[in-house]
Amino acid sequence: MTATARTSVVFARMGDPEAHQLDRYVATDGYEALRRALAMTPEQVHETVTTAQLTGRGGAGFGTGQKWSLLANTYPRYVVINGDESEPGTFKDRQIMERDPHQVIEGALITAYAVRATRVFLYVRGEMALAQERVGQALADAYAKGYAGDNILGSGWSMDVVLHWGAGAYVVGEETALLESLEGKRAFPRIKPPYFPAAKGLYQQPTVVNNVETVATIPWIIRNSGETYAALGAGRAPGTRIMCLSGHVNRPGNYEVEAANITFRDLLFDPSLGGGIRNGNQLKAFIPGGGSAPWFFEDQLDLPLDPGPVGAEGSMLGSGAVVVMDDTTCAVRAAWNLVRFYAHESCGQCTPCREGGSWLEKIMFRIEAGEGRLEDLDLLLDVGDTIAPGPFPHASWPEKGLAASPFPYKMTTICFVGPSAVVPMHSALTRFREEFVEHINHRGCPKGSAHR
């Protein structure tokens, strides 16, 4: 692996436990990017972010500059920051909001300036009490010192930032569901088209929805230039990104890396990153991009952390969450655990997800609990096919004659929550079918009982 594996852009202040204080932030280049951006035209700021080739860090990986250019030419228009982080395995946005909240506010203000927005909303997940307090205090301090509100930094430009709280619903992470929630409604994802809130977003007005990590990257880009950022890393999505590493590794945690310069093997095993599998155990499987990403195995360890090759091999980098399972893990139990999450978080709008997800969960649980039947294996695939019809993406397995199917999949639902319940079932059943059969034949889990 290269010497530049860990590079601090978003995490530059993580060594300072007081970095959430305004004076500490300002002493470490804080709000300097906002000052420089306001001296530029909005078009120049937009161009800088486009040059940086920054992509969205919430999961879909859409080009940030490109997303901004889709805005319909009407007003009012809004910037909404998605801080509703809740994809299983993902824990970066919370750390950024708790420990460097001004960076999020500064990035949001620069975004608002670049796209000529009329108001900014910060949507922070309801369960994150400390993040709400830290972002709220940072916002109050920024207003008091002229970094937000009226006539910012004496520029003549004014922008209000409204802190909004959620109240517990994973589906809010889907951007159109988030907008419904921000309008005071149940968080039902909107039917597409329109595909982008840039056309019709909050109150049916043009809206940019950006993830916390995405906007937190922007101050650095403005201070150091788009070219400098684009020169970090390689591949289709240059720059740094924060990889959330959890599960059976010796050193779980958030690591900011020039992603495409390293491989999953580096991330899991390098002594400065994951430090290897716990207890010297063998790797069984890993999830490369959050709970809704198809699983990878030993064969994919040498892929770079680059959306192109990862997609071609049947999965996605998604939210940057890598969950590692060692060989003591029961594949049925791990997959059931994820299926249960997506079934639980179905908003209930689309029948295939509402009914299919809960049936997948029930069938998976009865297999894990020793009450499964062999017919259940085909039934699982059949239910999955009603939610995500046709070939389902999976990693290659040449020994069994399987070639990789590329990500993504077809779907019968409005959003990705339904198909996300199919993902862990399909990955586990494709790769570890013999474990499912063993559960059924031996009337239970060889590795111990499941809790419901």
Partner: protein, 194 residues
Amino acid sequence: MARLNPTNIERAREVIARYPQPRSAMIPLLHLAQEQDGHITDDAKAHIAELVGVMPAEVHGVSTFYEMFKHEDVGRYLVGVCTNLSCMLLGADELLAHAEDKLGVKVGGTTPDGSFTLEQMQCLAACGGAPCIQVNYRYFENVTPERFDGVIAALSAGTDPEGQAVPPHGTLSRVSLPHPSTDADRERPQEIHS
């Protein structure tokens, strides 16, 4: 069962003023009602409906969609154990079983003295510190059964568990948020480089 009290009506009006449309204040006002009464009452739903200009049924529909809103009393401390994959891989199911034994209640139950309600929570974005729990939405990470017992013992004794203050269930952040401008010009694009 109460409508919002005069102080909270003032706070509600402040919150509503932050948004271009009053209905956007729905979730923050439900949090306010929960802070006041411990859970969401029918009277509070009707009052919020009046304040934001919708039917009470719509407030009911929203309040039952989001998991943080409770419709009956819960304990002073809501103890949530995450059992999603990253936490499960590191013992969260066993931790939850321990929590049930320790508190003497099943998931969803409240201890007879009204101190603790036990919940099984969905991924709390603390996967690097698995297994994790929350008490009234304050985090405790890398929780062992022994540390769990220590947190419960501290709360029972009225002290801060592991040095972290945990206000009673429903308490909202006391940070005073800025008031957005009501100037109509803010609805239009601004040009500072002509």
